[in-house]
Amino acid sequence: MIEVRDLTKRYGDKVAVDHLSFSVEPGRVTGFLGPNGAGKSTTMRLILGLDRPHSGTATIDGKRYDQLPRPLEKVGALLEAKAMHTGRSAYNHLLFLAQSQGLPARRVDEVLALVGLTPVAHKRTGGYSLGMSQRVGIAAAMLGNPPALLLDEPVNGLDPEGILWVRNLMKQLAAEGRTIFVSSHLMNEMAVTADHLIVIGRGKLIADSPTQEFIERSSERSVLVRSPQADRLSELITTEGGVVKQETNGTQPAGLSVTGMEAPRIGELAAASGIVLHELTPRLASLEEAYMELTADSAEFGAAAQAGSGPAEGSGPAEGSRPAGAAPAGAGQPGPAQGEEIAP
């Protein structure tokens, strides 16, 4: 188990990690989410003892990283994929790491086979693709067969096949009872990988909850209704306690967005009054939207900053610009970038 307590790290005046506390439990994939510059990598570096915190503690099974006698057998880490000597072969890179832990050279062959790099193991890593380098990094993380793994953006730059491979590997390792802590700025990737989410923004904790709960809590369910008798239906729903918004697609009306009432009840109301329905679709805001709503305030280089000549909305995007249920994209679709969406 990885525990972070009141962790703070400053670089000059800038606070990278701000009194952060959370714990990462074994047996599941914990996603570590935040916009670029939120402090994810810094937090991981603090856990791994690469950087020194200004205050607070980060422990692995109750011990600080530098107190672990053979750290690679407690925690495996993948930070930057390309962080190895381009002139050294993957085999030798892994060999010196294995030797430093007193692990046999046989273990190097095993992890190379695990990540599928055996054929190129003795080639210099300078010629490796990003995907191959990521695999070397994962092999290094697995070298000590550790019960905990920290992976910083492991799917960055991977092709779809590689992404699937990493995703399955993480799930498998978690199923073996290991602690998997994986950072990403891609919400949709985490939605299909992580069982639990820790979301940070500007170095502060925003959310710490199971993935499903996170989506449900931070987004509003709505039902899309299309009917030729929209006005009558709208009245009926409103009298029954629902909230109706007219959705438009450009200038065309694109149906009603109903909140506060489930789809079956809307169908019953329509049937009772003989109203024709063309569409009745329950919608759940996508994880990406939930995430953007949560982190809009805290994005380091967010949309508001990029708007430039536009109105200085400041903290606007979170509340004003996106009426609940008026999401333009259907459930599960990645929404357009926020910057485009709030443009007047």
Partner: protein
Amino acid sequence: MTAIAPAAPTPAADAARHVGFSHLLAAEWTKIRSVRSTVWTLVIFAVVSLGLTGLLTWLTIRALNSGRAGGRSSGIAADPVNFILGTGLGLGQLAICVLGVLVITSEYSSGTIRASVLATPRRYPMLIAKGLVFGALVFVIGEVVAFGSFFLGAAIVHSHFPVALSQPGVTRAVIGSGLYLTVLGLFALAIGSLIRHTAGAVTTVIGLVLVIFNLTGLLPYSWGAHIHAYMPTVAGVLITQDKDQAGQLLSPWQGFGVFCAWTALLLIIGGYLLQRRDA
């Protein structure tokens, strides 16, 4: 994909297995031998040292034979051993400076330092292991090249100036050349651990060794002479000379001790900063 944990150590074996300093030495040896820059730099060192020793002694003897040496012959006549050891190794030592710097700065430029520090979070022992492995390597190669240079040069100058290891101070000077190169390599390693950037550290080391330390010889008065005598390589190089020079303030071994002390001090600071700084 099924066998992720084939080598999972059993708890009993796990507790019994102790990671000692020898494991760190093995890891550092793997790091040093597995990059081409090590091999190339050492090859350049050997070729430049032996080649220049041979070339310069041969040219000097040829000039003497043809009677065109003029005043230049006085140097070789006064101290032929120092002439032999000082020519080729004097330039070859720069390759050792570069290698000493690279051994540590290439870890920073490539990012390997993070893997190293993750594996050895108590960073001091890692730097000590690195210094020992690199020092041992330079010592072996340095002694081989020093003896090679001596025998090569001795054979060339033999007709005019017979020199032999049995003459006073000569064996010490030849062995001392290898020792000097070893400590010089560690001195460069220490500077590399302080500066962490290859170009900056190489420039600093070579600037210090070739220019700055020697410039202190221009300082006036006796305190100037003392400062000059205690500069790291000015003191260190005394052990490579078979005869005392005019106005020499330190004995060869005292000078070597001064050089070692400087290097140890810089390594301690380097180790402290390695421990303190974010990797």
